[in-house]
């Protein structure tokens, strides 16, 4: 747990920043993640098994059908749906990647100064240009 409180995130030379990185991240800091994961998995698995084994079981042809307001269901549910949802998903991936680029920039923001800020403004300008195009193209119109 030793190195976690060292607060140097930017160093002018690559090799020094690499050394600081080695000091800052100890793999053992992530051990508690495994503890938490084990706990959560155990809770979920045990609950699932218990609830599956203690409830009553009645099966029947009509009962096993999926419930769609009591109307007999027609066809498979996995039918094609509006392409808008797919476009939203694609746009999400694009924008999310751009946002992830901003995180390291934001961490180092104070040391990068005006130059870094202007560079990010250019980057965001391009991003917003694409964003404007999407809106004009009507991808986000839902009527």
């Amino acid at each position: 747990m030793a190195g976690t409180n060292i607060e140097v995130y930017f160093a002018p030379r690559l090799e020094t920043s690499f050394m600081i990185l080695l000091n800052t991240y100890l793999p053992s800091d992530y051990l508690p993640v495994l503890v938490q994961l084990g706990l959560a998995v155990a809770f979920v698995v045990v609950t699932m098994i218990v609830t599956h084994s203690i409830g009553p079981k009645n099966r029947g042809k009509v009962k096993d059908e999926q419930w769609e307001c009591g109307i007999e269901s027609v066809g498979d549910a996995r039918a094609p749906i509006s392409v808008k949802y797919f476009l939203v998903a694609i746009l999400f991936v694009l924008f999310d990647v751009e946002i992830i680029f901003m995180y390291p920039w934001a961490v180092n923001f104070k040391s990068l100064g005006w130059l870094g800020f202007v560079e990010m403004v250019v980057f965001m300008g391009i991003l917003l240009g694409g964003f404007y195009y999407i809106i004009k193209k009507g991808v986000l119109n839902w009527d």
Binding site: M1, Q36, T51, A79, V107
Partner: protein, 354 residues
């Protein structure tokens, strides 16, 4: 890492896990009581005094219900859906710092033990990663049910969650620029006095973040994935027994975690006004340190409970959005607004620094 330190850490993780489940359980009770109060009803009052045993009775009922899997459903995915939702919900609470540090030198532990399950310096990314994994739980569950309403609900949930995730991660960037760290404990430590709370420095970021938190938790006014009037139960129409319980429970855990994250990022976490004055009054050494930490934990939990109450208050006050309004708000208002917020924050920081 020392063995004792690790054991202390494991105990803290266990405690936080237990407290998370407890608060989530009683949030269901609180929600019904708050709803009753707002609508001038009594609410649950039969099981135990003031109905306090109601959540336990509900959990017992959930366990003994039939565990139903539709014939047309994909069996394993049907089970995987709620499991993933619950798993990701359970993992997030670990990185939130619930208090300062404990001085356990009388147990032979040299280092101060922070009241935080996992103290990693990418805390915020950890939370966001898990929150976005939660979408899979909903999506897989809705798809596996092989029910048209479930699938529609799941698709709505997925596109709503991913849309609001963008604005949410953008609103955080302004805070990271001010703090220069991704670690939640560092961000909390940065707000050590009342006037430095991020809500004063980032009011727009806070409003964006809390709006997105409502959308991520699928709470009213953003509860389109499960709006009863249109989609029966949405993505959990086909679920019964504890599988349904997991979905509902995961929602309450997410509410707790988002309240905790909001308090930590914007309301100073475990810091409170007059902390340094109190530190002067308390006795020196381990006792005073631990007392101050415990008071901080209490303050943090009262902030969290306030935000949980706020979630419920909004649920019974504001009507649901229409789908196009929801998407317009997310994409055309919140995203440009948060980008503008980043630019303004950047200019102000640079002007103040020079």
């Amino acid at each position: 890492m020392e063995v004792y330190f690790f054991i202390a850490k494991a105990v803290i993780i266990l405690l936080i896990f237990g407290v998370t489940l407890l608060i989530a359980t009683y949030s269901t009770y609180a929600e019904r009581k708050v709803a009753a109060f707002i609508q001038d009803r009594l609410g649950p009052n039969r099981a135990g005094p003031w109905g306090l045993l109601q959540p336990i009775a509900d959990a017992g009922k959930m366990f003994f219900k039939e565990d139903f899997i539709p014939a047309n459903a994909s069996k394993w995915l049907f089970i995987a859906g709620p499991s993933i939702a619950m798993l990701t919900a359970c993992m997030t609470s670990a990185v939130v710092p619930f208090g300062g540090s404990l001085d356990l030198s009388f147990l032979g532990i040299e280092e101060l033990v922070p009241i935080q399950g996992i103290d990693i310096n990418i805390g915020i990314l950890f939370v966001f990663g898990l929150v976005s994994l939660g979408v899979y739980g909903v999506m897989i569950g809705g798809w596996a049910s092989n029910n048209k309403f479930s699938l529609l609900g799941a698709i709505r949930a997925a596109s709503q969650n991913i849309s609001y995730e963008l604005a949410m991660s953008l609103s955080i960037i302004a805070i990271i620029m001010m703090t220069g760290s991704l670690s939640i404990s560092q961000i909390v430590a940065d707000q050590d006095s009342f006037y430095k709370w991020n809500v004063w420095r980032q009011p727009i970021g806070f409003i964006i973040f809390i709006t997105c938190a409502f959308a991520e938790c699928n709470r009213t006014p953003f509860d389109l994935p499960e709006c009863e009037t249109e989609l029966i139960g949405g993505y959990h129409t086909e679920y019964s027994s504890m599988k349904l319980g997991f979905y509902l429970f995961a929602e309450y855990i997410n509410m707790f975690v988002s309240s905790a994250v909001i308090s930590a990022l914007y309301f100073g976490g475990y810091h409170f006004p007059g902390e340094s004055l109190l530190a002067g009054v308390l006795p020196e050494g381990a006792l005073g340190h631990n007392l101050l930490t415990l008071i901080g934990v209490g303050v943090f939990f009262s902030k969290i409970l306030f935000f949980i109450f706020f979630f419920m208050w909004v649920r019974w006050t504001i009507a649901r959005f229409r789908y196009d309004q929801l998407m317009n708000l997310g994409w055309k208002s919140l995203i440009p607004l948060s980008i503008a917020n980043i630019l303004v924050t950047g200019v102000v920081i640079l002007l103040l620094n020079n």
